[in-house]
């Protein structure tokens, strides 16, 4: 029971930090001043704020945001300001100060998963060898490959020598061709899947088939060649572009609106520990 409560509290606090860091401005709004810089001294900045001229003391907790050309604000130090800059100055809310360290923490956390993966594989394959499970010899190959991969890693920056040779064998002569071969399987699978599944069984299927053929042919040199006698706007490449830019973009945007709202809802459920099932208790 206390474990679940602890998880819920930690989850809420972690999400709360990111939520507040996003919605709360970096400076306290009612104590912030915006305006055009008139001059900067070591102890204060003079601003033209509306009709009046205001002086802002340079205390420790003061943050200065200068508006970029693109309109977005950038945090700057007082010494990099010059007359004419549009700035917002105010006391810090301290939330954004820690975002870099918090981000670093999560990056380190996600990298730890790699170590977990290695441990999990080690346990799995050593158990298979010990118990002589079916195809246990594959587990021996795993350990040999792991050692070869580690040696190859040392050889990646070597100029010559046996570590460099191991690197070449593992990386250039095994991993790369194998990866490319697997990826090339997709071409064949796509061909057989298209042949099997793309049948015009309805009006919608006909529409889908027509647009697929137009886009497919339109993106190859044959598309221009086939329709070279037609007006520019009616040639296959132009029609294919219209389908991709206009028809496709509208459909994708609609799908993404739905998926993003779904993601917000799921995220909200996890943040507030309202999620049920999977790894939470049932009601």
């Amino acid at each position: 029971m206390w474990k679940r409560r602890l998880i819920a509290i930690v989850t809420f606090l972690a999400g709360l930090y990111y939520f507040l860091e996003f919605v709360v401005p970096p400076t306290i709004p009612w104590q912030s001043v915006s305006g055009r810089v008139l001059d900067v001294t070591p102890t204060e900045i003079r601003l033209q704020s509306g009709a009046e001229v205001r002086s802002v003391g340079l205390e420790k907790k003061i943050l200065i945001f200068r508006q970029r050309v693109s309109g977005t604000p950038e945090r700057v130090e007082p010494q990099s300001l010059s007359a004419g800059d549009t700035v917002t100055i105010g006391p810090s809310t301290y939330l954004s100060d820690g975002i870099v360290n918090v981000n670093n923490f999560f990056i380190v956390l996600s990298t730890m998963a790699w170590g977990m993966g290695l441990i999990s594989l080690w346990l799995q394959h050593s158990t298979a060898i010990r118990k002589k499970s079916p195809e246990w010899y594959g587990s021996i190959i795993f350990f040999i490959a792991m050692v070869a991969g580690c040696i190859a890693g040392y050889g990646s920056t070597a100029e010559a020598g046996w570590t460099k040779k191991t690197y070449d064998v593992v990386f250039n002569y095994v991993l790369r061709p194998a990866g490319s071969t697997v990826f090339s399987l997709l071409a064949f699978y796509m061909a057989s899947a298209a042949y099997r599944a793309f049948k015009i069984k309805s009006r919608e299927a006909l529409l889908m088939m027509a647009s697929a053929l137009i886009v497919l042919i339109g993106q190859t040199p044959f598309g221009s060649w086939l329709t070279q006698g037609l007006p520019e706007a009616m040639r296959l490449p132009a029609v294919a572009q219209w389908i991709l830019y206009i028809a496709n973009s509208g459909a994708v945007r609609g799908m993404w609106f739905g998926m993003m709202l779904g993601a917000i809802a799921v995220g909200l459920r996890f943040w507030l520990s309202l999620e049920r099932g999977a790894y939470f208790d049932m009601e």
Binding site: R68, V69, S70, G71, T72, E74, I99, V100, N103, N104, F106, I107, S110, T111, S156, T157, F171, L175, R176, P177, A178, G179, S180, V182, F183, S184, A187, F188, M190, A191, S192, A194, Y195, R196, F198, K199, I200, K201, M209, L213, L216, I217, Q219, T220, P221, F222, S224, P237, Q241, L244, Y245, N248, S249, V252, R253, W256
Partner: protein, 287 residues
């Protein structure tokens, strides 16, 4: 006749595989070139790079490996070629793919060897290597590149002005003109976290299948161009080298087998449908 046509929808898939292998393989044995048009997204990326001001660098997120090498290698090759030609310095990073920096370095080494022997590592380009955390890593790079990378891919300190003179003028996103992310699926987080916050140009190099989700960003102006698969690389090569005889990039070499392969798939679909309609007609006749 109808029975014969009906059988067209039950062709053994291995015949289709064989036709596809021949269609893709023959152009490698007897290479030839086909004329290539230029799509708006490719032209837009080229124009964006052409307008790069002096003193700025391009950040190339080259995160592809052997899986998508067929499509992405040609894309980075033509972009690196363009950057070298215009003498625009660039910094290479890799989002969450530890194998990727090595692939990018090989493409650069090949270009330097063949076309730009006077280009030097540390002055004309720097490879920083892997970064993790996706949008968190992007935020780090944008605010202070040294927080994310104290050293480059080869272990040199970023503050070492002898080995990495280029990095002395690259501190954060203000020194970066364009982020070009080239991988199987470029992370969309470059758009809200870099373009949305700082207004920096962002371009993508992606596989054809992934490109459909990114066209909407081109329409809205959030992407400053995109290279779509092998076609994008071939089109970019055609802009860089208007004379077909000068084109030697991977994209130009692969567009021909790609075109024939797509023809085979189209034919397979058409034949399958002829067989399907023949079988429908047979059923109606028998009924």
């Amino acid at each position: 006749m109808v029975t014969l046509l009906d059988r067209l929808q039950t062709i053994d898939r291995r015949w289709i595989y064989l036709c596809l292998a021949l269609a893709c393989g023959i152009p490698f044995i007897r290479p030839f070139r086909l004329p290539t048009g230029v799509s708006p997204e490719t032209q837009r990326l080229y124009d964006t790079i052409e307008k790069c001001p002096a003193g700025k660098v391009v950040l190339v997120d080259s995160a592809w490996d052997q899986g998508s090498q067929g499509e992405n290698e040609g894309q980075v090759e033509v972009v690196f070629d363009h950057l070298f030609r215009k003498k625009i310095p660039f910094v290479v990073v890799s989002n969450d793919n530890p194998l990727a920096p090595r692939f990018a370095e090989e493409v650069i080494a090949r270009l330097v060897r063949k076309k730009y022997p006077d280009r030097k590592y540390g002055t004309d380009w720097v490879t920083l290597g892997l970064f993790k955390g996706d949008w968190q890593g992007m935020q780090q790079i944008s605010k202070d590149i040294r927080r994310q990378y104290p050293r480059d891919y080869y272990g040199n300190s970023l503050d070492d002005s002898d080995k990495l003179p280029l990095m002395q003028s690259v501190r954060n996103i203000d020194d970066i003109y364009l982020v070009f992310s080239c991988t199987y699926t470029p992370s969309e987080n470059w758009i809200p976290f870099v373009h949305g916050v700082y207004g920096t140009h962002v371009g993508f190099g992606c596989t054809s299948i992934q490109s459909t989700t990114y066209y909407r960003y081109i329409l809205s102006g959030q992407l400053s161009g995109m290279l779509v698969g092998v076609r994008g690389a071939a089109e970019y090569d055609s802009i860089l080298h208007p004379d077909m005889a000068d084109r030697d990039s991977q994209g130009t070499r692969l567009i021909v087998p790609l075109a024939f392969g797509q023809l085979v798939i189209i034919l397979a679909v058409v034949i399958g449908n002829i067989g399907y309609f023949a079988s429908l007609r047979k059923e109606r006749r028998d009924a």
